[in-house]
Symmetry: C2
Subunit: 209 residues, 2 copies
């Protein structure tokens, strides 16, 4: 799939299309969403859609890209500096119970929910993997097989959590997990990243602790 | 889905059907496999199939159940005794490069491969989760939300590894990972189980180290 253009000179039309994508995905299966649905509901010109995207899959990729990269984890790294565990724990503790974070979780659970599609799974996998490698200052093309597998273990695990979270929320409501438990899980996942997926040369043990 | 009967008084017919299931899954999509295909190729009477199973999904569930429970991890626990990390590392080190283990891995990658189906994903998830809980002597109905999510993180992660393993094997051949790396990953996964999913009352820290 060709990457959608990530530079954008009409953010409001783009954002309306992205928001409409999430809204429609909450209502129906991905395969039952059409470009026509998007442009009508977003009140966007059809040409505007095709200016930004070649096809619906590209909008889905972009929407998931944005959601993944809005995460506190993705934003805590960058510029070659890998945030340590204390930094990350504090960051998560501050953010995890905000309305914004809940909205983000709700959107991401749609990727594993009943309306999902292999296209959405793949887009989440690719974006999440890329975001995590960037936080750890690793180059995607320079990852050894063992780190490669651990990275996919972590991304697969995050999907497993989203899937379970969805079922638990449906059964027990959204307050199923205490903030301290959510922080503990998020910390554990990041710990696993630091332990296993740092650039070579960094300590392989309990980095950041 | 009703559970297939796991007691079986005609193991050879049963085993032929299971082997045929894996063979056909290596050749075509799960949805393109029929009960007729199975009984013809396994040389089993149609009545014999329906004596053991209500439908094809039940055979798939049973085949995946057997494969999951043949794993060294599943077999290392039991009788209320949780194997510690040293025990597990030694066990994996001995088994991971055997022909039997390679065959098991090849079968399990079919569950996440191009011929997969949501039914197979779900069967793997349910069986793997059950097997891990049993190794840890945890009752499925007595799992707190935090452990619940960590358990699904681990099962999702194992699926992520299988999926990546499949792609890496296709690109680089089966010898992509050294035995020591495979052992390190298997050990890390078990470590995560011990750290996060033990019955309450057990130490929450680095159990078994």
């Amino acid at each position: 799939m060709p990457r959608p253009r990530l530079d954008c000179d009409t953010p409001s039309a783009m954002q309306r299309m992205i928001d409409t994508f999430w809204q429609l995905l909450s209502e129906r299966k991905y395969r039952n969403i059409t470009v026509t649905d998007i442009v009508r509901k977003a009140n966007v010109n059809r040409n505007s859609f095709y200016y930004h995207f070649n096809k619906l899959d590209d909008l889905a990729y972009r929407a998931i890209h944005d959601e993944v990269n809005r995460s506190p984890l993705a934003q805590s790294g960058g510029a070659g500096k890998v945030p340590d565990l204390q930094h990350w724990r504090k960051h998560v503790g501050e953010l995890i119970s905000t309305e914004e974070e809940r909205k983000r979780t709700a959107r991401l659970t749609m990727i594993v929910g009943p309306n999902t599609d292999p296209v959405l799974y793949q887009a989440f996998h690719d974006n999440e993997r890329e975001a995590l490698l960037e936080v750890l200052s690793r180059e995607p093309e320079d990852v050894d097989p063992r780190t490669d597998l651990m990275m996919d273990f972590i991304v697969g695990g995050i999907m497993g959590i989203l899937n379970r979270w969805l079922h638990m929320s449906e059964t027990h409501g959204s307050e199923v997990l205490a903030d301290k438990d959510a922080t503990a899980i998020a910390t554990r996942v990041y710990d696993l990243l630091l332990e296993n997926c740092l650039p070579s040369g960094k300590p392989a043990g309990k980095a950041g602790e």
